[in-house]
Symmetry: C2
Subunit: 341 residues, 2 copies
C-alpha cells in the first residue's frame, strides 16, 4: 500500500492535520515541524493521492480517445501525435478502440464520462449514424473534438482534411497522365470521408467532360487488403477498358496491385493507380504507390491542441465556439502513375 | 458541469446526506424519499463521481502501459490485445510512449504512480539499463508485468517469446536450404531480445560446424528501413560470399531487400533472407519475406491477464509469486528462402 499522511503522522507522533498543513506550508506550523514532516515524507517516499487532489480541483488531467482501429498506420500516427502533445501539457490519455462498432463506441463514451475525463477525442466508427451519444458528451459540458471520421451535424470542434479536394487532385492526376476510364474503389457508404472522396472523384470526371459511370464504383466494405484483390477481380470481369483507379485507402490499393501483379496486368502501363493515406508500405511495394499524404501525426497534435483550449475555456466557464481545422494534404507521385506509361 | 448530489438535494429541498444515503439504500431513509431521489438522479442524468468512488475502494480501475513505440505493427498489435482484454474486465488503459528513452520512461512511471494506477505494463526502452525506476513500482506494491523487452533482473511477472530458440530456428532454416556464409543484422547492444536473437544465431552456426565470424554481424541502431539499406551496402563492400542473412526485425529486412533489388542481386538465389516479427508488409513485398511470427495480440492479452491476477491478489494482500509466460512463435516460409534457389 502507498504511504499515507497517517503513516507520517504515526511515525512522528503528531496529528494527521499537522502533517497535512506542514506539507502545504501553512503558517501555523513551526518551521522545525515542517522540515521534519517533509524529510519524513521524502524518506517514506510519500506521494500525494491524486484522486484526493482531483476531488479538489475537479480535474482528472486525463482525456479519453476513441478510435475505430489501432493496428492501422494512419491511426497509430494520430495516437502518436495526441499522446506526444498531451504529455507536454501534463495530460494522460486513455485509449479505447471501437472496432467500427456503434454499440461499443456508445459504451466507451459512457465509461469515459463516468471516469470524469477532462475531454474526449473521437474518430467515429463506420456504423455510427445516430449521434445522441456524442451530444450526451456536449450536454455534460465535457469538451469534445472529432477528427478524421466526423459527424457534420454534431456541434463540436473538428480536425479534418479536405477529403473532396484531395480526391479531386488524385483523380485529376490520373486524367492528366492520360487515363480515360477511371474506376473508384470507395469506402463503406456511411463515413463522411468515404462520401467526400467519392464526390471529389465524381465531380472531377464531370469537370473534365468524362462520363461518370456508377458501375465503375466498387465498395470496399472493410477496407482490407482482400477487398483490393476481390474488387480487382470483379472489375476485370465487368469492365474491359479501365485504365486508372482511384482507391480510397492504401491498404486496399496494395491488395489491388498484388492481384494485378498476379494476373500479369502491368501497373501503370495497363492500369494506373492512386491510393490514399501514404502508409509507409506504399513506398516499398513494387511498383511504388502514388498516393495522397494524410498527415496523421499532425492531425493528432492539432486535435489535442484544440481540446486543450476547450478544457481551459470550460474551466473558466467561458463559452465554447466550435472550430474546424482543415489540414493540408499532398499528392505523392510514385511508380503506379509514372509518366513512362 | 456534471450533475452533483448537491443539485439533486437542492431540487428536492433535502440535505445532501439524505440524497447520498438514499442512493446507497441506507435503511434510515424512507422508501418514498429513496424513490424520489433515484427518479430525480435519473432525470438529471446523475453519474456518481468516480474519483470519490475511487477514494473509497482504493481502486482506479485504470492501468498504465508504457511502450517504446506506437507506430509499429508489433506494438500496435500488443496494445490491441491489452485494451481488448482490459475492457472485458472493466479496466481502462493509459498509454504512454517512451520513444526508447530511459529518462522519459522513468518520468512516465512517476506519472502513473502519482495517478495511482492499479498496475503497470511495460516493454522497456532500448536505453534502459538501470532498473531502479522499475523496482520503485514493486516497492510501492503496484503490480508490474513486463513484456517483449524485459529486464531479467527485475523480480516481476513477464510475458516473452523464446527469442534464442526462434533465432535458432530461423538460422537453421537458412542452413537447411544450403546457406554456408550467413550474416546477421542484429538490433542494438542493450535490449535482451536483441542479445538473445544474436546468441541463437551464433549457437546454431557452431552447432552446425559452421564458422562464427563476428565481422558478419551488423548492428541496426534504430531498427529502421534505412538501417537495412546501409547494412547491405556495408556488408557487400566487406564480404563477397554471404549467401544468407538472418535479420532481427522485418522492417530492417524490407530495407535490405529493397537495396538488394536496387542492385540487381537476386533474393533468394544469391542471398536468402529470414526476418523476424511477421509484419503484415512482409507478406506483400516482392519477394515475400520468410520470417518468425511474433504473436503481438496474444502477448498483449496474456500480459493483461497476468496483471489482472496480480491486481486481484494484491487487493487481498496475497503474496505475489512472479510468473514468466513464454509464448510460441512459428517460422513462416515465403519467397526469400524459397526452395528453388
Amino acid at each position: 500500500m502507498p504511504v499515507t499522511l497517517k503513516d507520517i503522522a504515526e511515525k512522528l507522533n503528531i496529528s494527521i492535520t499537522t502533517v497535512s498543513k506542514a506539507l502545504k506550508d501553512y503558517p501555523d506550523v513551526s518551521k522545525k515541524t515542517k522540515r521534519l514532516v517533509k524529510e519524513t515524507a521524502s524518506l517514506l517516499n510519500y506521494k500525494p493521492n491524486s484522486f484526493a487532489v482531483n476531488l479538489r480541483t475537479k480535474e482528472s488531467k486525463t482525456i479519453g480517445l476513441i478510435i475505430p482501429e489501432i493496428v492501422h498506420h494512419f491511426f497509430s500516427s494520430v495516437i502518436n501525435g495526441i499522446i506526444n502533445q498531451a504529455e507536454k501539457k501534463g495530460y494522460l490519455v486513455i485509449i479505447l478502440q471501437s472496432n467500427e462498432s456503434y454499440e461499443l463506441e456508445k459504451k466507451q463514451i459512457d465509461l469515459l464520462l463516468a471516469k470524469r475525463v477532462d475531454g474526449i477525442l473521437i474518430s467515429l466508427a463506420n456504423e455510427s449514424t445516430d449521434y445522441s451519444h456524442l451530444n450526451e458528451i456536449l450536454n455534460q459540458n465535457v469538451p469534445l473534438v472529432m477528427f478524421d471520421k466526423i459527424a457534420k451535424l454534431v456541434n463540436c470542434s473538428k480536425v479534418i482534411i479536405n477529403d473532396r479536394q484531395a480526391a479531386a487532385i488524385a483523380t485529376q492526376h490520373l486524367i492528366d497522365i492520360g487515363c480515360k476510364h477511371i474506376a473508384h474503389f470507395r469506402g463503406p457508404l456511411l463515413p463522411q470521408n468515404s462520401i467526400d472522396r467519392f464526390l471529389g472523384y465524381k465531380k472531377t470526371l464531370l469537370d473534365n467532360n468524362l462520363k461518370y459511370d456508377s458501375s465503375l464504383v466498387y465498395i470496399s466494405d472493410d477496407m482490407s487488403f482482400e477487398n483490393g484483390k476481390t474488387n480487382i477481380s470483379k472489375m476485370l470481369s465487368e469492365h474491359e477498358h479501365v485504365d486508372g483507379i482511384f482507391i480510397n485507402t492504401d491498404l486496399v490499393a496494395v491488395g489491388a496491385i498484388a492481384e494485378l501483379n498476379n494476373r500479369g496486368i502491368k501497373v501503370p502501363e495497363d492500369i494506373a493507380i492512386v491510393g490514399f493515406s501514404n502508409w509507409f508500405m506504399s513506398s516499398v511495394i513494387s511498383p511504388k504507390l502514388t498516393t495522397i499524404n494524410q498527415p496523421g501525426f499532425d492531425m493528432g497534435k492539432q486535435s489535442f491542441k484544440l481540446l486543450y483550449k476547450e478544457i481551459k475555456a470550460s474551466k473558466k466557464n467561458n463559452p465554447l465556439v466550435p472550430k474546424t481545422v482543415v489540414l493540408d494534404t499532398d499528392l505523392i507521385i510514385r511508380e503506379t502513375t509514372s509518366s513512362t506509361r
